[in-house]
């Protein structure tokens, strides 16, 4: 069992698109897969047509004896389940602060599910807070979409520093270039500069209208555009990630 977080400090970089499409890919290959929509914006829940609501909200969720099991919903795809977002996730920070081990709560909640699932994907909100610390503690792998711009690169640096400072050695950080636009000179330049270091995954996700369409189709790219470049990119991204552990 592996817990995989799709994370970035920045919003709008492709975290949700990545989490949704990789989880779909894993499920298609036969793995029992869960995706937890941790972002109160609820984009992942929206893509799967599932109401962003959990019974009792964050308050009940963080109670000592709470269980995730009966909050899980089946998606339209076999082997793929979703734990929906809830509006109250906005106040998760406060709730966590009241706990005894405030950074271990997510891990505690996920532990009973590790028997049932081969992969648990976490679709994360773009913050660097106690919620993210919980994510860092729980995840085995953190995939980070990075738009090839200097600003994005700086936020990646911030993240690495944070992890080093907070002794998060168990966590392997796998950045990849997201929303790459071939026509943009700067994108190409930045990618070229970083290539020799081997820091980024080889597979990039290009800017593609097929991915943009997810909001309309409310489905995984591989479902409605199986033979598209975008679908193939996610498939090989997932392959490359699996080779990295």
């Amino acid at each position: 069992m592996k817990i995989i977080a799709s994370y970035s400090i920045k919003g709008g970089v492709g975290k949700t698109s990545t989490a949704v499409n990789l989880a779909w890919q894993a499920a298609q290959e036969g793995a029992n897969t869960l995706i937890w929509d941790l972002d109160p914006q609820a984009a992942a829940s929206f893509y799967f047509r599932i109401k962003p609501k959990i019974k009792g909200g964050t308050k009940k969720l963080l109670k000592p004896k709470s269980v995730l099991d009966n909050l899980i919903k089946g998606t339209d795809y076999l082997n793929l389940d979703l734990l929906p977002a809830d509006f109250s996730y906005r106040h998760m920070e406060l709730g966590l602060n009241e706990q005894k081990h405030p950074t271990q709560q997510l891990l505690r909640l996920l532990r009973p599910l590790t028997q049932e699932y081969d992969y648990i994907f976490l679709d994360c909100p773009p913050t660097l807070t106690l919620v993210s610390e919980n994510i860092f503690q729980a995840a085995d792998i953190m995939i980070c979409p990075v738009i090839p711009t200097t600003l994005s690169l700086r936020t990646l640096q911030q993240l690495e520093d944070f992890c080093n400072d907070n002794n998060l050695k168990h966590l392997s950080i796998l950045p990849f270039f997201s929303m790459v636009d071939r026509r943009k000179k700067m994108h190409q330049q930045i990618i070229e500069t970083f290539k020799p270091q081997g820091l980024f995954l080889n597979q990039q996700i290009a800017y593609a209208s097929d991915i943009e369409k997810m909001g309309l189709r409310r489905a995984a790219v591989g479902d409605y555009a199986a033979s598209s470049q975008a679908a193939k990119s996610y498939q090989s991204l997932w392959q490359e990630i699996q080779q990295r552990w």
Binding site: G30, R49, I50, L71, K73, G74, D76, G222, D223
Partner: protein, 549 residues
Amino acid sequence: MATLPNNLFKLEEGQDPAALWEQINVHYDLEKSITQTHDSICYDSFDWRLFLQGWQLTAHNKKTAYESGQNTAQQTECWSIILESVDGQQQYARQSLKQVPTFAWDFPDSLLKTQLQPILEMRALLAHTHLHWVVQTWKVLDDEQKTVVRLQLETVYVVGENSEHTCLGQALRVLPVRGYTKALQRVLQIIQAQALETEQKSWLELAWRQTQQQPGSYSSKLNLQLKPDMPANIATKIILQRLLDTMQENEAGTRQNLDSEFLHDFRVAIRRTRSVLSQVKGVLPKTTVTRFKPQFAWLGSVTTPTRDLDVYLLDFDKYHAMLPAQVQPDLAPLLHFLQQHHRQAQQKMAKTLVSKTYQKLIQEWQQFIHSPSRAHPQIPNSGRPVIEVANENIWKAYRKVLKAGKRINDDTPVVALHELRKDCKKLRYLMEFFQSLYPKDRAMRSIKILKDFQNILGDIQDYFVQVEHLQSFAEQMVEEGTGSSRTLLAMGVLVGHLLDLEQQARTRFTERFEIFAQETNRHRFAELFKPQKAKITKVITKATQAGGA
């Protein structure tokens, strides 16, 4: 007993699911999804060991097709083999393999293998039912177009030997989507309102009805129901018919060597038949007895070489393990020798079993069994109640065993033990033939007592015969030039081992005989089998003696 899991609804013949879709459509959108086909083949041993255990072994070749339609379906050439309870409610083990192995020992090491091995032992897995499934999936959608329930319309066919498909019917399976219990309840309500009953019989049972199979129907046991006052000649024919049935049931499997147990059961039926001919005295016409006795002796003897080699092959691992590790590889040529000779013996036997001589024997024997039985003054016991004849024969055979057993001590030549073993076997067969005439638990108890005693005699005999065989194998291997000196030496070590074991078994004989012949057991036998007349005369003599004193 075997019910399909809930949420399965049988459609009546010719019932159109469209009416149902309409009803569901009032509340939900319905979307037609993929159609999948797959095959499932159920396996069991000839004697239904898995079924009798409450188990079911099924191999599925599911072609994994994705719901998303556009994805090219990945075809798996793999069989997913599942061991589960007969009702399908509990799964014990599963494994994916390219082919379904014939024997439990052919499975790769796994939970499935460890579950199957002690039950199947030497029996082959035979395919008994082949089902073909066409499954059409429909999605029930909520107002967000989210799938909340899946419906599967299953059309199931039973596939015959010449791959002809017979439709068993259609059923609707309702598959829940996690977290959507309300929608599930609602859909179930709609379907139930259409008066579709949950199917009680499983597809497998329907298939059995179609193919006229009766699981658990074969048993090598006699399982007769004789009545004490039946005329002896009629009861005897019932026994003989049952034995002939067993022979015929096992004949094809013996010929094809599906597994070694067919021949074993075939031979037991022959031996029992011979035993009836010689042990049930004065019941069958003399001419019949003298005519068929040598013929069944012949039939037994043509099957002996194959069986002897079977026994060796089945025990080979045991022999292997008797040797020190560094000598074990030297035994390989013996295995090769056994396999080769087994093939030849098997071929020869199979030929005999299709020969005119054999067919004529079976035919004439059947004719005799079917011929009307009339009690005849020249056949003294033919019309007597079977219980009397049974008592007399069993009692006589029992007394013979007791007498012979008492005469045996440590210095008695081994032949005497072999004779005793034969006497015990005769007694055992008689007790089994007539078992149903006696109170069940007491009959079984006395058979058990005899069986325990037979075990020691069987061991002594087996070791002795194995030594003799090994010696003759060695001679043959030398003649054929297939036995290297190392192999012969290894076989020599085996012979030494077996002689030791025989000796050890012999030392246990006296103790076992004493248990068999102890007073409480003698009482048991007397109470059950001692002929009434003898009992009465004894009581009278006792009474008169008492009176006279």
